[in-house]
């Protein structure tokens, strides 16, 4: 447990440090100063990127020396082994990635079905198939949600939501 926490900590700071390094290098490329010695477009990214890299390195060293205790992860406190629906942590993790994947699918479906239809379906599918809620209330809720969003965003705020190839609730793409 302790070892894996350290590994996770090291990996986190490695990624953050790499990100900082990338911006620092990019910033150097854009030029730290412009003619006349004034602050140039690359100064801030180089500075913050560099500082971020240093911070990450410091954290890596402290972790290796064991002087930085990785913070007690909040989840061990919050996450009950089984929640009120009787799901285990493993099941919940699977649900998490299912929801994530479904959302991605919904986003990709927008260009086909339109925004409202794609997300109306997402709400329905998540509540019925993932959360195992009864079909009728789930249908009502997703229907009401779509209608409310249509009324507020499309009719009232005149947001041109993508309507997909059929032009449902918006402009045809």
């Amino acid at each position: 447990m302790r070892v894996s926490a350290n590994v996770r900590e090291l990996a986190t700071w490695a990624v953050i440090g790499a990100l900082g390094a990338a911006f620092a290098v990019g910033g150097l490329g854009y030029g730290l100063s412009k003619e006349g010695g004034q602050v140039g477009p690359g100064l801030l990214p180089a500075l913050t990127g560099g500082l971020l890299l240093l911070t990450a390195l410091a954290q890596v060293v402290r972790t290796l020396l064991g002087s930085a205790t990785p913070p007690e992860s909040g989840e061990t406190v919050v996450a009950a082994e089984e929640d009120l629906d009787g799901r285990t942590t493993w099941q919940r993790t699977r649900i998490l990635w299912t929801v994530f994947g479904l959302t991605l699918v919904a986003l990709l479906l927008v260009s086909l079905l339109g925004f409202l239809a794609a997300f109306g379906l997402l709400v329905l599918v998540i509540s019925v198939a993932v959360e195992r809620r009864p079909v009728v209330p789930a249908l009502v809720i997703s229907g009401v949600a779509v209608a409310a969003v249509y009324a507020i965003f499309v009719l009232f705020l005149r947001v041109p939501l993508p309507g997909g190839v059929f032009g449902i609730g918006g402009e045809a793409g």
Partner: protein
């Protein structure tokens, strides 16, 4: 139920928009009878809600509606990338006569300072409906009395300009032109908006600023700031601005203004183009547009151009700016 109705409405609206019932249209009909928009028309505003370009776009849309009873023009903000996102979206509307765009200087400056996949040639210019000139101002106690004084001062010392918008913006271009004509070099304080320039002038961070009349009239009236010249081609007709000399009168041979116009997508038929030009001619005389123009102190008389005349001016602007903006942003 509501959803069903909504879908039906939406379907109805889009099927009209998608079909292009121009039919023959040939023979250069000219008359607006040849083609008419079906259903709602969209007016893309490539900037955020609430800004100067947004106000212009909404006033233009209202003017078009007034000019053609029964026509519905819905303004739609597509902001981002200093206009690049909106124009980019407009590119995808090639051949669609139901979509217009409220255009301004970014149409010409953007392709020169950034990598964007369009120029004014990608679209169908319909009309230039107004010009929004800049007034060059200084603080009330400044020793500078004219724009020539500013140039002379810059020969001897550092003169700090407060500029609204980034490099390639209207103010920046106007001062670059002055620099090229006179050989002086100004120091620049880049800010994001006209009101920041006012703030910098009042706080003595900048010495000279260029602002649209609407942005600065309150300060001029109270005497906090003083106008020393305008970059517009001719003097303003508005009584409160008519005494401001043009830069040209003071011996600096430059003119540069922000233009406001209407753009249609590329690939329109002659009849479609003719229809919009005719409506635009009426729209500039509409109450909605005139009210907007006077309240924002725009110049309208003698600057309005339509169709190919507008295209020709854009071509001229492009060459002119090409020389001024060489090497910017690359």
């Amino acid at each position: 139920m509501l959803v069903g109705a909504a879908v039906a409405v939406a379907l109805g609206a889009t099927s009209c928009g998608a079909l292009n019932p121009t039919g023959g249209g040939g023979g250069g009909g000219g008359a607006a009878g040849a083609w008419k928009p079906r259903g709602d028309v969209r007016m893309i505003i490539p900037f955020g809600a609430g800004g100067g370009s947004d106000l212009a776009g909404r006033a233009t849309a209202a003017g078009l509606e007034e000019a053609s009873p029964g026509l519905n023009v819905n303004p739609e903000n597509r902001e981002g990338g200093a206009g690049a996102v909106g124009y980019g979206f407009f590119m995808s509307k090639q051949g669609d006569p139901q979509t217009l765009l409220a255009t301004e200087n970014a149409l010409v400056t953007m392709p020169q300072t950034s990598k964007v996949p369009w120029t004014y040639k990608s679209f169908t210019p319909i009309a230039k409906i107004a010009e929004d000139g800049s007034v060059v101002v200084v603080k009330k106690d400044s020793p500078l009395k004219s724009c020539m004084d500013v140039v002379d001062a810059a020969k001897k010392r550092r003169v700090m300009l407060g500029l609204a918008g980034s490099v390639g913006g209207t103010d920046d271009v106007a001062f670059r032109m002055i620099e090229q004509k006179t050989g002086v070099k100004f120091a620049r304080l880049p800010t994001e908006s006209g009101s920041e320039v006012v703030s910098a002038l009042l706080g003595d961070e900048a010495e000279v600023g260029a602002l649209n009349p609407g942005e600065v009239l309150g300060q001029l009236r109270s005497g906090e700031l003083r106008a020393i010249c305008t970059s517009a081609g001719k003097r303003y007709a508005y009584p409160e601005l008519k005494d401001i000399e043009t830069a040209k009168e003071q011996g600096i041979d430059i003119t540069y203004s922000q233009f406001r116009g209407i753009l249609a997508p590329g690939g329109l038929s002659a009849a479609e183009k003719a229809y919009w030009i005719e409506i635009a001619r009426k729209a500039v005389n509409s109450k909605a547009f005139k009210k907007y123009a006077t309240r924002n102190y725009l110049q309208t008389d003698g600057v309005q151009l339509y169709g190919d005349d507008f295209t020709a001016e854009l071509a001229k602007k492009e060459t002119e700016l090409g020389a001024v903006l060489k090497g910017v942003g690359s």
